[in-house]
Structures are given as C-alpha cells and as structure tokens.
C-alpha cells in the first residue's frame, strides 16, 4: 500500500450499540482495523461475536454508534443514506449467506446488476460477466433464473456480481454456510483465484474452518471486540 492509496477499509474505535429491553448491548466494541487493498481476510468468531455487525458497518448497511468507518478513504459516518447507497454501488461488492439473487432476473442479469446501475454499456457488461462465468464454470447457465440454480451455483453468481463491477472490496457474510463441502471448496477456490488474479479485496465474516484456513489474515472476535489479528504467509 502506498501513501496515496487509501486502505480498502479502515475502522477507528468503532462501537455499535443496540438497545434491547431497556438494556444496551454492545455488538461491536472499540474496533480499530485496517484492511489493505488486495487482502483476503476472515473475521472469525462464534455466533454473537459481532463479526456480521462489523461487516455491515464496513459496508455502510448500518451506522456506527461511535467511531469512524472509512472505505477507500471515504468516511461513511458523514454520509447520507443516498450517498451510502452510491458508495456501495461504486466501491463494495456483497455476498450474503443465502437469497443473494433477485428472483426476477436471470443469472447473467443478476451478475451484471451493479454494472447496470452504474450505467456500464451492455456489451462491456456482457463481456465481463461472460469471462467470469467461464472462469467460475457457470457457462451455459446464463439465462437460468435463481430458482433453477443449485445453492453453490447461486453463490458463484453472487460472487461474480460482487467482483464484476470492480469494487474496492467484497464483503462476504458466511458465504459457505449453506453449502456442502465440495461446493464450499469450489466457491472458495473461485474467490481465492479472483483475489489472486484480479487483486480484489475480500473480507469474510465466517465460522467455517475452511475459510479461515484459506484466508491470509485471520481476525478473531469475541464479545464484539478483536481478540486476535493474525497474518499468515
């Protein structure tokens, strides 16, 4: 990372507090984290450890109670809902655990949806998406609706959608949780290869050991705070 290139995401003493039956629950406590462009990072921890909330904070899907979140150098805490939507469109790709695709669109339409919103011309959209379909072994399934795809195929389409528009980073929340081991492995390979070949930054919230093993940086969370931050070779 050079001085002129801002981190893909930076959190500065971020807190997220929910009110629950007159009690305050701190889902994320004082988390400061810097993720550089091109990283393949996993946020791990048991259920309720705050990894999904931290991922949502990084993606501007929820607002911090205290502290700052910066994506590609832009401060999310200062932004309106409309600006956050624009930032998500330009800088962030999402892969969720399930129901990732819009049921009324075909696989190829789903994959190119962010580019459609960005106004990328049809030919460019189709070229980029077809390349990624080929790379991920989905060729021939372009015109299928999500209901006609397996869980693994749907997740791969979601990954293509997340990376095709060339965002600053992809946030993936338990992307393998609903997949069997071979589909999980295949999906991880796809994401790993895209990270290696295209330099796309991936941040996962996961408790899947396979994801943790493949990640080059593992941030463990306990009770909303960072417990350990380990970089592997």
């Amino acid at each position: 990372m050079t001085e002129s290139t801002p981190p893909a995401v930076r959190t500065e003493a971020v807190w997220k507090t929910f009110s629950q039956e007159a009690e305050e629950v701190h889902a994320v406590r004082d988390v400061s984290l810097v993720i550089a462009p091109g990283e393949f990072t996993a946020l791990a921890g048991p259920s309720g450890s705050g990894k999904t909330t931290l991922l949502n904070l990084m993606g501007g899907l929820t607002r911090s109670t205290r502290g700052r979140v910066l994506v590609a150098g832009r401060d999310l805490t200062e932004m309106s809902n409309r600006e956050l939507a624009q930032l998500r469109l330009e800088e962030i790709g999402f892969v969720f655990q399930a129901y990732n695709l819009l049921p009324v669109l075909t696989a190829v339409e789903n994959a190119e949806f962010p580019m459609l919103l960005q106004g990328v011309p049809l030919e460019d959209r189709r070229r980029r998406v077809r390349e990624l379909f080929e790379k991920t072994g989905l060729t021939g399934l372009e015109e299928r609706r999500p209901g006609k795809l397996s869980g693994g195929q749907q997740q791969r389409v979601a990954v293509i959608r997340a990376v095709a528009s060339k965002p600053a980073m992809v946030l993936a929340d338990e992307p393998t949780a609903n997949l069997d081991s071979s589909a999980s492995e295949a999906l991880l390979n796809v994401m790993y290869d895209l990270n290696q070949e295209l330099g796309v930054t991936f941040v996962f919230a996961t408790h899947d050991v396979r994801v943790m093993e493949r990640s080059r940086r593992l941030v463990r969370m306990v009770d909303g705070a960072i417990d350990s931050d380990e970089t592997r070779r």
């Binding site: 929820t62 939507a85 998500r88 469109l89 999402f94 969720f96 669109l105 919103l117």
Partner: protein
C-alpha cells in the same frame, strides 16, 4: 430520477412474478373502473335528459331577456323589437349560428284564464308555432285536439288540469286577462284548439300557449318579446355560446337593456338537482374506489412484506431508499395504469352497448316522476364524453398512486442490515 429503466424492468418482472395476485387486483380495478365509466356516462345521460326536458319546457339552454324580467315577470321588462332584431342578428353570426339548433322568441305574461266555470291564474306564452314545435316537447304531449299552427289567430293550447278546473274542451271559448304595455288590464277571447298533458301538475294547471302575433295585438306589444330562448346540441356547449353571445351583445348588455343567461341561472332548482345528484354519484364512486384502494394497498403491501429481504439486497447493491420506494410505487402505478386502460375499454364498450336504445327503468316507476318542472324520462341513454374518460383515468391513477404510497414508504425505510439477517 436515476435508474428509471432498471426500476421499470424490475417492477414489470415483479408484477409478472405473482401473476395471479396481479390479475386479481387488476380485475378489481377493471370492474370498478368500467363501472365508473358506465356510471358516469349514465349519470351524464340522465342529467342531459333532465336538462333537455327542463330547457324545452322553460326558456332554453340559453336565454336572452331584460335584466329585470326574471324577478319582475312584468311586461314592461321586455325586449323591444329593435333589441330583438339585434339579438337575432347576433344569433346569425359565424361561430354562433352553427352552435344554436333552435331559437324561439316568446312573450311571457302572467294573467288570468276564465270561463263560465270560473277563473284560474295562468302563465300565457305567446309563441311562434313553427319555432315552438322544434323548441318544446309540448306539442308531442297533446291528448286532445292539436298544437297551434302558423295560421291560427285566436287559438289557445292548454293543459289538462286547467281544462278540468275551467270545464273546457276543444272548441271552448276562454278569456285571457293580463296587464298590457300601457299597464291597463286587457282581455282576449280565444278558443281552445288543443289540450296537453305534460305530467308536471303546475304546468298542466297554468300554462297557456297562444300565437305570438295574437299576444302582441292583445297586449299592445307588437313584435316585442320578453325572451329569446335557444337550444344547443349538448349542454356542454352552453358556456362557450354564452360567452360568445355576451361578447357579441356587449353594448346592449352594458346599457342594461338585456342579459344573456344560461339554464343554470334561469332554472336554479334544476341546477341544484343536477349538482346534488352529481355529489351523490361522486360520493358512491369515492366509496367504491376507497374499497378498491384498500385492495391495492393490501396487494402491494403483502408483496412488500414478502420481499423484505429482496429490498434489503437491492439497497445493499446500490439502490437508494428513495429508489426502492419508487420501485414499489411504479409497480402500483403500472398495475393501475394497465387496469385503468382496460377498464376504460370495457366501460366504453358497455356504454356503447346501451347507447342505442338506452336503459328502460319504466318498470321501477309506477307513475310519471317530475321535479322542478322536469319530467323524468324512464329511458336513460348513456352519454359518452371524452372528458369523463380522462377524469376516470386520472382518478384511477390517483387511487393507485395513493394506495401505493404506504407500501412504498415501508420498502424505502427498511433496515437493510436487519432484512439481510439469516435466521439460523
């Protein structure tokens, strides 16, 4: 707004996705909308029939008279022969002549009709028999004898109730007494040539038609008249004709010699009846469409609640909250617009079907029904008006739009992170 194309595409696909739900809602709109079109046409047809009956019995769609005549009803508040000539000249002007279908100049006075059996207060109208045949429907309502003819001199056409109360028959002599132009009481002997039954008791008791020349000679008014009445093809043309005539006759109007009034001013009771009936109809349409509106709210809201996660996903992918709301609004509007267009087609077809012979309600009316001097025709012919189609279309779109607002707000204000939570 950005992404209009994407939002429209998603809206259309979403409507197709739940086809049965979409079709059921569209069907409710279709039935409601076509009923609205047909009811509006029927209502307009009814009102046109009332207005036609009223103006033919009265002084026309538009009448020109002395400014004081409506209140005084006195012979001194009449239009001179010169003024009448100026009015008739204005009626021949281009733009006016094409609009006016019939003109009838009348001398209307209050007086007394007497026979050997007694006397009754009456309204005597001096008419040009030929013009009046085209203007009024009274000649069709003859029950004995005939209507006035151009060669008639001392002839009278009277109502059945007057005939009964004065013990008259066709050929009987009758003395009419009224104030003449010199404010003297003048009497005129006439002979009954025909008897009519209008169905309106007040008219059958008190109306007497005599030839205008006879009235002029009797009252000393010559070619003067109290009113120049005219009919148009459809009452909607009245405002335009009135303004044209007011422009043409600006000078005598400014001098206080005459005024141009429409049937609404001349017959305020009829105007009120039409307005009240319209209000009642609009109230029913309103209630009908509130019910349909709730149906649309239900359909669109259910669709929003079922697609909570989908809206979260759309916002995560870059659609703003406002654009997410717009998607729901477009779905509601597209559904309404398509239903409205089909409803208009069906409504126009039903209107067209009944246009020829009309709807006969005579089985529901035991006797002739009347109000304010208007005989209600039991056969109603729907009246098709383009303006009503536009009104109905706007109304339906408004209902659809308003009904979609709450679901749209729900979609726009979802908590994205909550909606994307996966229940483990």
């Amino acid at each position: 707004m950005q992404h209009v194309g994407v939002i429209t595409l998603l809206a259309l696909r979403n409507l197709r996705r739940h086809l049965r739900r979409t079709l059921l809602t569209a069907l409710a709109m279709l039935v409601g909308g076509s009923l609205l079109i047909f009811s509006l046409s029927l209502g307009d047809g009814t009102h046109e029939s009332w207005i036609d009956s009223g103006v033919r019995m009265g002084t026309g769609h538009v009448t020109i008279e002395n400014p004081n005549f409506q209140v005084s009803r006195k012979i001194e508040d009449r239009l001179s022969a010169d003024t009448r000539a100026a009015v008739e000249s204005a009626l021949r002007a281009p733009g006016i002549a094409e609009r006016v279908t019939v003109v009838s100049a009348k001398m209307i006075v209050r007086g007394l009709a007497s026979s050997a059996a007694g006397a009754r207060p009456v309204q005597v109208i001096g008419v040009d028999p030929l013009a009046e045949v085209a203007f009024s429907t009274l000649d069709d309502q003859v029950v004995e004898g005939r209507y006035l003819e151009p060669d008639d001199g001392l002839a009278a056409y009277v109502g059945v109730d007057l005939v009964e109360s004065l013990d008259l028959r066709v050929g009987s002599r009758l003395v009419l007494t009224a104030q003449d132009v010199n404010k003297d009481i003048a009497a005129q002997l006439v002979r009954v040539v025909g008897v009519f039954r209008s169905g309106v008791s007040a008219i059958d008791q008190s109306l007497v038609h005599v030839p205008r020349d006879t009235a002029g000679a009797w009252l000393g008014s010559g070619q003067d008249v109290t009113n120049v009445g005219m009919l148009v093809a459809e009452s909607e043309e009245v405002p335009r004709l009135v303004s044209q005539l007011r422009a043409r006759l600006a000078e005598p109007i400014d001098d206080g010699i005459l005024r141009v009034i429409d049937w609404r001013e001349a017959m305020p009771e009829l105007n009120a009846a039409v307005a009240i009936d319209d209000f009642g109809n609009y109230l029913i349409y309103g209630i009908l469409f509130v019910i349909i509106g709730f149906g649309i709210v239900n359909t669109v809201l259910m669709s929003v609640l079922h697609r909570h996660r989908e809206f979260g996903l759309l916002q995560a992918l870059g659609l703003s909250p406002r654009q997410t709301g717009a998607l729901v609004l477009v779905e509601g509007l597209v559904l309404t617009a398509v239903s409205a267009v089909l409803a208009i087609g069906l409504g126009v077809f039903i209107t067209w079907y009944f246009w020829g012979d009309g709807l006969d309600f005579s089985s529901m009316m035991s006797n002739e029904m009347t109000f304010s001097g208007v005989v209600i025709d039991p056969v109603i012919i729907p009246l098709f008006r383009v303006a009503r189609i536009v009104q109905a279309l706007v109304f339906m779109l408004l209902v659809g739009g308003i009904a979609s607002i709450y679901p749209a707000i729900r979609a726009a204000t979802i908590d994205v992170s909550e909606s994307m939570k996966f229940e483990r």
